[in-house]
């Protein structure tokens, strides 16, 4: 789960890491009143809050510049914030259609002499958290991998003081006071990472001011979805407006759903089979409307919900059921399909390939239902052919 920059900064601040203090304005807010609470800084920074990196290099699709801008006066701030709100910001991560901005962060622009990159993420290959740090902060870290320092942390023992010292000296914190504040920041950052089951916490940049203070002026955090059950405080930071409502609905039923661009609705069990099905269609000139992984332990209620979510997709031309059940029974899936299609008077042609637990019973159930436009694929290889036939009938 991703959260916004301003939420990340609040978490950092709560964990004893100095951040620049600004305000967040939403669509209905009195921008002027909120911004006036910042006093009279020399310059302001105005930042669109969306779940995407590269906001500074992105652009609003109606051409009011990038997602991170520096302005002089309070009036400019108010104007810019109003333009950003409700507008769509496109970055290299969002694609050209961009992402709607519902919140804007406004803060005093900080003057600094050096910028650093500091992050902790869970390194899957090493199987442990790794701290990444660089004295060239402020830019995308992927662009300069050779300058990045890495320090792996034993997940049982936690961050050791020598590791923090090593990084502090390597980053060139020569004054003792600054070095000490870095050690405190890193210790707190690791504690935050560990306590919240984060998969990534990034400060970019961490800046050093002329008087030697360190300050986090941008932050990003991603949390392990599997661990949210033990972090109600983190779960509460979820911004439903930043996510596809169908994905949220699917998730409440334990179903993994990702919308894609095609017109063939796919109901599958297992993440691997769901992906392989997308690939199989694509290799045959067909395109899936979605990724959908029921999970092998899904019950009827989840299958019902999944079918309803799939049918919400507008321009479907065909529905494909492709299951290979270990625990999930074919007849249960078939019964759900019959119920949902009959209740909703769904006329969409249905291509079914079923294998695994009680698959034969499932197919029998479907075949007995003469209201369905049913096409049974004998095996995986037969699926594209059956979809083409089904689409011709439609």
């Amino acid at each position: 789960m991703k959260i916004h920059e301003f939420q990340t900064k609040k978490l950092l601040a709560d964990h004893g890491i100095p951040v620049d203090t600004g305000v967040v304005v939403g669509c209905g807010d009195d921008v002027e009143a909120l911004v006036s609470s910042l006093g009279q800084p020399e310059n302001y920074v105005v930042k669109a809050q969306i779940h995407s990196g590269g906001r500074g290099k992105g652009h609003f699709i109606d051409g009011i510049g990038s997602g991170v801008q520096r302005v002089h006066s309070r009036m400019e701030v108010v104007q810019l914030a109003r333009k950003m709100l409700g507008n769509r910001l496109a970055t290299r991560q969002t694609g050209p259609e961009g992402c709607r901005v519902n919140m804007v962060y406004v803060g005093p622009a900080t003057n600094f002499c050096r910028e650093f990159y500091l992050a902790i993420f869970m390194d899957r290959s090493a199987g442990m958290p790794v701290i990444m740090a660089s004295s060239a902060g402020g830019v995308e870290i992927e662009e300069q991998p050779e300058n990045v320092l890495r320090e792996y942390v034993c997940p049982l023992a936690g961050l050791q003081p020598f590791q923090a010292r090593k990084l502090a000296f390597s980053l060139g914190f020569n004054s003792e006071a600054t070095r000490k504040s870095f050690l405190v920041i890193l210790e707190n950052l690791y504690r935050l990472f560990d306590e919240t089951d984060a998969s990534l916490i990034e400060i970019n940049p961490l800046v050093e001011t002329a008087d030697g203070r360190l300050l986090a002026i941008d932050g990003k955090a991603v949390f392990d979805d599997n661990a949210l059950f033990r972090h109600p405080d983190i779960s509460a930071l979820r911004d439903p407006a930043a996510e596809d409502p169908r994905e949220i609905q699917a998730a409440t039923h334990g179903v993994n759903y990702v919308a894609l661009a095609g017109n063939i609705g796919c109901l599958t069990n297992g993440a691997g089979l769901a992906m392989a099905t997308m690939d199989l269609l694509n290799a045959n000139g067909l395109e899936a409307a979605n990724f959908l992984d029921l999970g092998d332990n899904s019950g009827a209620e989840a299958v019902h919900a999944a079918l309803e979510i799939l049918l919400q997709g507008g321009d479907l031309r065909c529905m494909l059921i492709n299951t290979f059940g270990g625990a999930m029974c074919g007849d249960m899936v078939a019964k759900c399909v019959v119920d949902v299609f009959n209740e909703g008077r769904v006329e969409l042609p249905l291509v079914v390939r079923m294998e695994g637990a009680r698959a034969a019973e499932g197919l029998d159930l479907l075949r007995a239902e003469n209201t369905l436009k049913l096409f049974v694929a004998e095996n995986l290889r037969d699926i594209p052919q059956k979809i083409r036939e089904a689409m011709r009938v439609q």
């Binding site: 899957r124 993440a271 690939d279």
Partner: protein, 297 residues
């Protein structure tokens, strides 16, 4: 012969009174798996199906039984603790099927596994089966057939697909192991390939991977250096969008090396035949093996 487990295994089931166990244990037992004891804290002294003794702790179970493997079928919040308890009980093989274990818990488990007496399969996996002998997991039994192909996979359903295509062509398997779809898990793809390579009964290997992580590329490197046996592979997710988690916690493209095409090229560069789609894995296997003329099933 097989890897990791054979018909002589005496098995402990952690979570023996749960819903998952109620569904899967009868299938495991019907397959010939010898379940000797179960764990359910608070139900020690009772019996599963009036036959199999239940204990409160692994320590107690190991005092009464020689246990060679543990099958863990508990919900995610308790699973890492169960794995840890099995490691502490020095159980040689631990199979954890559970999906949804927090990554931090698995990082700690993996650190604990070093210098332990245990090997972990999973979590978030279908388990392991040595066809005709023993099944420790949730895979449908009928799709397997005893033989000499080693199958290793990160995905449950894709293991089923692959195995079923082999079996339908009359080609049997030595052992099929699902290493799991989580970012941090027990034995790696390289570990499994190494074991299959060392197993005299295994004559060919099929490797099924997906987007996320760098295990397939590492396996390609290992195979290039050390493996003479023919290897066929399939990688899922060539059409997966970047930066989106595709079901499995570990299936996410983050960085070029974790994408499907990078893995496919790495495998092909190591001389491995890669099926372009999952429907072709059986055919691709027949091309690389000496099993061009399938035996009658």
């Amino acid at each position: 012969m097989s890897i990791l487990v054979d018909g002589s295994a005496s098995v402990l089931v952690q979570g023996i009174t749960g819903r998952a166990a109620a569904f899967h244990l009868p299938h495991c037992e019907a397959y010939g798996t010898k379940i000797v004891a179960g764990i359910r804290p608070g139900k020690g002294g009772q019996f599963y199906d009036n036959r199999i003794p239940i204990y409160d702790t692994v320590a107690e179970a190991t005092r009464h039984h020689a246990i060679s493997a543990s099958l863990i079928l508990v919900p995610a919040p308790a699973a890492a603790d169960c794995i840890w308890e099995a490691i502490d009980g020095e159980i040689p093989l631990i199979v954890c099927v559970t999906e949804g274990i927090p990554v931090r818990d698995m990082a700690r488990v993996r650190a604990r596994l070093r210098d332990s007496h245990s090997v972990l399969i999973g979590a978030n996996c279908p388990g392991i089966i040595t066809p005709g002998e023993v099944k420790l997991g949730i895979m449908p039994s009928y799709i397997h057939r005893s033989g000499s192909v080693g199958v290793v996979s990160r995905s449950g359903t894709l293991t089923f697909e692959t195995v079923w295509q082999l079996t339908q062509r009359g080609i049997g398997q030595s052992t099929c192991v699902g290493i799991g779809g989580d970012p941090i898990h027990g034995i790696s793809m390289v570990d499994a390939v190494r074991m299959f390579n060392d197993d005299p009964k295994t004559t060919e290997i099929v490797l099924v991977g997906e987007i996320g992580g760098e295990e397939e590329a590492a396996a390609a490197e290992f195979i290039k250096k050390h493996v003479q046996k023919p290897v066929a592979a399939y990688i899922a997710g060539v059409t997966a969008p970047a930066d989106r988690r595709m079901g499995h916690a570990g299936a996410i493209i983050s960085g070029a090396k974790s994408g499907a095409w990078y893995k496919i090229r790495a495998l092909e560069a190591a001389g491995i035949a890669v099926a372009r789609d999952i429907a072709q894995i059986g055919d691709v296997f027949c091309e690389i093996s000496n099993k061009n003329v399938p035996e009658k099933p």
